[in-house]
């Protein structure tokens, strides 16, 4: 019996040390999947960059359903992964419960605020980036009408639309902004057919620049815009390459930087509220060889000046999620 106890004790110690050796960071992707050419893929790229530079390894999992969120978190926490980074606001509720049970593990959540002492909440100022691309849209538009196509109708996407409309109106106060949402269920993220139809509907209303903040639905938006000879604006990752010369720019959301920084910090991850805005390179607009001919020097100068103003605080862009209303656009 004592032998047995010793044996069990030894294996327990072994298991513990194995767990300690496993203090790799972990990354959990949201339902969109690792290779969505957008949000989750940006997170993956950040993790890859960290792995390439440090030679470290990280654990990862792609969720298949909402029910797996808490399970995945607990599994990584039990396995000793530290820090655990999750991409997506939907983890908020699960993390609220799990974080309290593992006080020694550091968590980082993107796009959501969780008020636990061991959680870093990374929030992006998408409205600021959208404001900048809105300015570009208004300057590129000849008809004075521009469009916005959102994915699922949630406050986060309205935040994009609201910032965009403010940017448009800042350049051209007489401009018209047409805003449509694809739907109210998660299928709205993956309906390029409806995205195409929405784009055609906006074109028939006179829009000649369309901004898609709609995940996979945006693929249809960009395609239809290119087919019909109008400009489009991509989102999250740089999507300029998809239709060279026909995508005006992309609103960049540097999720990769957020993941990279969290992984770099390791177990010493600084917790608390972390805002990624125009000032610290968290959001911005894309300029590369595919859209260089579309962005003139004056346009670039105007947008860069606005970006500097936002950084310095001279220009405040209204955040839809702060009070659930938008001065520039009604949804």
């Amino acid at each position: 019996m004592t032998l047995m106890t010793k044996f069990l004790g030894a294996s327990a110690v072994l298991a513990l040390s194995a767990g300690a050796a496993l203090a790799d960071p972990a990354l959990i992707f949201d339902l969109g999947g690792k290779f969505d050419k957008s949000f989750n893929e940006a997170a993956f790229n950040g993790a890859q960059r960290w792995a390439g530079e440090t030679g470290g390894t990280f654990a990862e999992v792609e969720l298949q359903s909402d029910a797996q969120r808490e399970q995945a978190l607990r599994r990584f926490a039990e396995a000793g992964n530290n820090p655990i980074v999750m991409a997506g606001f939907s983890f908020g509720t699960a993390l609220e419960e799990v974080a309290a049970d593992y006080p020694d593990t550091k968590f980082a959540i993107i796009d959501m605020v969780v008020g636990q002492p061991n959680v870093r909440s990374v929030v992006f100022n998408e409205h600021e980036g959208s404001y900048l691309v809105g300015m570009l849209a208004a300057m590129a538009s000849t008809s004075g009408t521009v469009g916005f196509i959102g994915g699922m109708d949630i406050p986060l996407i309205r935040k994009f639309g609201c910032g965009y409309a403010q940017g448009v109106l800042a350049v051209n106060p007489d401009a018209t902004v047409i805003a449509n949402m694809t739907g109210t269920t998660p299928t709205a993220w993956n309906d390029p057919v409806k995205g195409s139809e929405l784009t055609l509907a906006q074109i028939s209303q006179g829009a000649d620049v369309v901004y898609a903040a709609a995940g996979g639905t945006g693929v249809g938006v960009l395609q239809t815009a290119a087919d019909n000879g109008i400009l489009s604006i991509g989102v999250d990752s740089n999507q300029n390459y998809m239709h060279p010369g026909k995508v005006l720019t992309s609103m960049l959301k540097r999720v990769d930087n957020a993941v990279y920084e969290a992984f770099m910090a390791g177990a010493d991850l600084e917790t608390g509220f972390n805002v990624m805005g125009v000032g610290n390179g968290g959001v911005g607009y894309a300029l590369d060889e595919y859209n260089a001919s579309l962005i003139s020097a004056e346009m670039q100068a105007a947008v860069d000046a606005a970006a500097a103003d936002i950084t310095s605080g001279a220009l405040a862009v209204h955040d839809y999620t702060s009070d659930e209303s938008c001065p520039a656009l009604t949804f």
Binding site: G33, K34, F35, D36, K37, E41, D153, I178, N180, M181, G183, T184, T187, N190, D191, P192, V193, K194, S196, E197, L198, T199, L200, A201, S204, Q205, G216, V219, G220, Q223, T224, D227, M242
Partner: protein, 323 residues
Amino acid sequence: MDLLTLLQVLDSSVRMATPLLLACLAGLFSERAGIFDIGLEGKMLVAAFLAAAMASVTGSAWIGLLAGIGASLTLAIVHGLASITFRGNQLISGVAINFFAAGITVVIAQSWFGQGGRTPQLGDGARFQSITLPFAESLSVVPLLGPIYKELISGHSILVYIAMLIVPLTWWGLYRTRFGLRLRAVGENPAAVDTAGISVVRLRYSAVLICGVLCGIAGAQLATAEPAAGFIKDMTAGRGYIALAALIFAKWRPWYALMACLLFGFLQALELRPDLITNVIGIKVQGQLLSALPYIMTVVILAGFVGKAIPPRAGGEPYVKER
């Protein structure tokens, strides 16, 4: 609201209605023969994927269409095996097909193209382009009819016209041929058909296969007919279920199916233009309400307010020759 705007909305309705119509007719054949088919969605999805994948690889939309029909047929045969030969539960087989399709398309697309479960965007040759019918430009000066011809009737992909042709074909096939009579009979009373010396199994299989072909065309339309240009995961976005609702709405009849699908298409097109509704009736209507309308109308139908929708009597029951 001027004529041109109205025509643009109707034009969009036709495009939105086409995949619904094809799927609805597919379900009509299957259910008229007594095989319930929840798996329309899954069959459309695999067809959309393989059509886009093959069109992307070969550069030909037609090869894509054939591949899509092939993929859909494969699942149709699986459904046939499960529900006719092995007399399994048809609903469960259909649900299984939907889940299988949702998973397998993404897995294959990822390992084939490495673009996150989507196919590359299709170039102009690899998708069905809009066809401008003859005289569309020259006739456009004719008042009323000219713009209707140019905007509404002309300028769709070939698959839209094929779908519209299939409606009278289905009517003729079901109501004016021996095959159609037997097909309808096998959905109402298979024992009687069997007594007359006709193979129930063969009839039901042919219905399930026709269903597969039509779902294949519907999927190809979603992924490879302009304005679409490629497959992305779960891109059918519930259209198979709306088609089932349309089928009940249409009381399992082909012309009614056309009307129901055009109506559902029109509602979906209206949802895209909230500004028009605001202009016409002066009140801002939420888009969510419009997108829910097809379902609300189906519930109203099912509740018996607009007339009774009676499904084929032998629907959902596997035929057992001897007990």
